[in-house]
Amino acid sequence: MKPMRKITYSQAFVEGLDYCMRKLPNFSLLGNEVMGLGPQRVHLETIWRNYPERVNFPPTSEAAFSALAAGAAMSGEHVFCHLGAASFSFLSMTSIANEAATAHYASGGKIKVPVVFHMLHGLRIGGGTQHSMSPQSMYWNVPGLQIVLPSCARDAKGLVATACLSDNPTVMFTHDLLIGMEGEVPEADYEIPFGKADIKRRGKDVTLVATSYMVQVSLAAAEILAAEGIDVEVLDPRTLVPFDKKALIKSVAKTGRLVVADESHLSCGVTAEIAAIVAEEAFHHLKAPILRVARPDVPTPFSRPLEDFVTPTADKIAAAVRRVMG
């Protein structure tokens, strides 16, 4: 069999956008530098070239152009709106949380808001306080939004397609360190359904739930642990809303142990919610307390040793897994 081609997350993401451009004549793109300012930014240029009338570069006005995206979606357009670093999305918070998330509900189901708010998140080395944020848990506290965190090139292509075709507002997070990462990606168009977790590595001893880039870090941790005889199952929920509780509980029922890794802050973070689901609904399967690996509750420092200290790493995750193994 011919080995599958390998392309970067960024290239795969652009293929997903291109599929939506072909599929939906009322789909357009709003925002600059969807794949950051690094070398991978060039892949977007094919979209700019092929669909010039459907690509819009707004001024630095996050509040207004995110509201524009929401309002256009309410008027029947599908819009992919890129907000840059996730910190900047707070300037758009009113459009996302007050407008896009509530319109369908408050209208009694009459209004649809097919918009995607995409942002770059995560500890990326040197991002400091305002270019490293991972606010996925904040958005998880806004009912009405779908939340998507691709962890690899293959998922990025299918998840961005599903997000853009969806009739619901979606917040989508791309981790800065995933943008240039290569992976096997099918050439054909495809969509990945929301609410279906993916087991990235099968194992029997511990369930390790991880999101976004933490999936890659967790796979590295699983390799370290495999050498020690610990067989880790890495479960990637792929979407927080809708959340695949079934797959989570099924895995915990098998392993009896849970570690959760995510880059949002520890308190009220993504890891807290996932731990709570298992504590409430699958406690009887647990053989050990649940452990979480998250960003400590401090703003993100710039200096490398300080940043390293707050970054969830394969070693920290492996240490947590060893602890739940007793």
Partner: protein, 342 residues
Amino acid sequence: MMAKQSLNKAACVRVLERMLVIRRFEEALVEMSGQKLFKSHYHLYIGQEATAATVVESLRSDDKLVTTHRNHGHVLARGADPGAAFAEILGRATGLNGGRGGTLHMSAPELGFLATSSVVGGCIGLALGGAFAQQRRGRGGVSVAFFGDGSLEEGISFESMNIAALWKLPAVFLCENNGAGATGSAKGGFPSSLIAAPRLAGIAESLAIASSQIDGRDVDAVHRAVSRGVASCRAGRGPVFIECITERWEGSKPMWPELSTGITDVALAWESERMPKKYRDWHVHQDPILLHIRKLLRKKLISRAAVLQLDRKVIARNAAARQFAIASPMPRGKTALDSVYA
């Protein structure tokens, strides 16, 4: 196509009817609030009816509109069912939005309304999106943002006007400046706007947006400005900004609305000797309904008897709408979990 800048007789009467529909609706609402039929805070449009009732004359069925916390007038002027509107404010299952929105978020997407935002300035950003969609469709549709002077305190209003101007979007920024005569929270009244610009239209002019400032109580002035502005948008010449100036109605000055000028008596349009002295200024110079009736009588476009007859018809329909709402069932509590996602 040149816009028609004056309304014909039938249109003048239609505008009057819309104004009466809004007025009778809101007068009933103050009573219903007093009867504790609903408990939320609410915002009245009394004194501003000329704007909504006239703007819709220039709009097509495929145009988009966005309104605010002060939305009753806009939604009714566009033709929403008053029974469903009352029901929405009372939180009934038969409401325009099934009771999910209430007075602050009343919306009628089937009439071209986008979501109704009660975040000050929110409607301006959404209307920008409506204008973006209209431009993409290329059929000459426009998007109208109805907002008050307070919205211009919000940064999103500047950002939105800037984008609309840069991209020549067909957005009608319709500012209903009801700040004149407002007391403000410092004097125990409802907050009034705090803006350094001496003329609100000047803010839009600084972005090279075609702007005008008119008397918002004067149906003809509103129609001239709006029909011209909408035609300009349809022709692809970019956004327009229209500042309609109205006096803050006495009843909207306190924190909670009051029917301080009484139930409207349309005969005061010609029986000036019966006007209560205390509110003479309102009845003579400010109430847009009385002003419009006087003008129609002067131009012989309507008779006194026809005015009374029209008002009676509106009052009867309003009473039936009110009854419909009061008789309507509440939604079942557990349906609160429905319709979060499409």
